[in-house]
């Protein structure tokens, strides 16, 4: 399950919704907005996404994770809009019977998400400059 959110990510209700008597492991990854990037001081950033395409592509990543690792569920929320330093940018949770597959699948999902989901980040710097990340 994948969702985009234009307001802060509150993981408490998200984790509560993941109750599963057959899962002994819950691994959560959070990505936060960092003060420095490539030696520059970041003031804030903006994320934008292609919502339907992102949901479709996440469903593929989720299906791959379920096929590769012995896990029971994957949940992900990604922010869009303006974010400040320290804000959660992405939240990923993996439920599994055991911790090994949960850790491995969580790593797989965040790595694939970063390289495949149609989400873009524009950083605004302390020196007044700004720019889209990962341009050639």
């Amino acid at each position: 399950m994948f969702a985009l959110s234009d307001h802060g990510i509150d993981q408490h209700p998200l984790c509560q919704a993941l109750q599963d008597d057959e899962s002994g492991a819950l691994v959560v990854f959070e990505g936060h907005v960092r003060l420095f990037n490539d030696g520059r001081t970041v003031l804030r950033l903006e994320y934008e996404a292609a919502p339907e395409l992102a949901a479709n592509e996440f469903a593929r990543i989720e299906a791959e994770a379920v096929a590769r690792f012995a896990i029971r569920a994957v949940r992900c929320v990604h922010r869009v809009g303006t974010l400040e330093i320290g804000d959660k940018a992405v939240w990923i949770a993996v439920l599994a019977a055991h911790r090994g597959p949960a850790f491995e699948a969580c790593r797989y999902v965040i790595d694939e998400l970063k390289s495949r989901l149609p989400i873009w980040k524009k950083e605004h710097y302390a020196d007044g400059d700004s720019g889209w990340i990962n341009l050639p």
């Binding site: 990505g31 395409l53 940018a89 970063k114 390289s115 989901l117 149609p118 980040k121 889209w132 050639p136």
Partner: protein, 80 residues
């Protein structure tokens, strides 16, 4: 001549000056469509650095464009 809806994201949206536009085209492939749009809006990204989506799924640049398609041009991504 067919009509498609084109969506621009991130840098491309800024360069095109719009998020979506209705485009009449004689382009046969997604690559041909991008070439037309890039010329009209002076888009700076090259297709080899981008992806393209057709009707909300990633597609190859060589895919045929069909009337009423929704096409999204996808700059390098930076989620997470």
């Amino acid at each position: 001549m067919i009509k498609v809806e084109v969506t621009y994201h991130a840098l491309l949206r800024e360069q095109a000056g719009c998020t979506t536009e209705s485009v009449r085209t004689q382009a046969r492939t997604l690559a041909g469509l991008y070439e037309e749009c890039a010329q009209r809006h002076q888009l700076t990204l090259k297709p080899e650095h981008m992806k393209v989506a057709r009707n909300d799924r990633f597609a190859d640049w060589s895919t045929a464009v069909v009337d009423e398609d929704r096409i999204g041009f996808i700059p390098p991504v930076a989620g997470g």
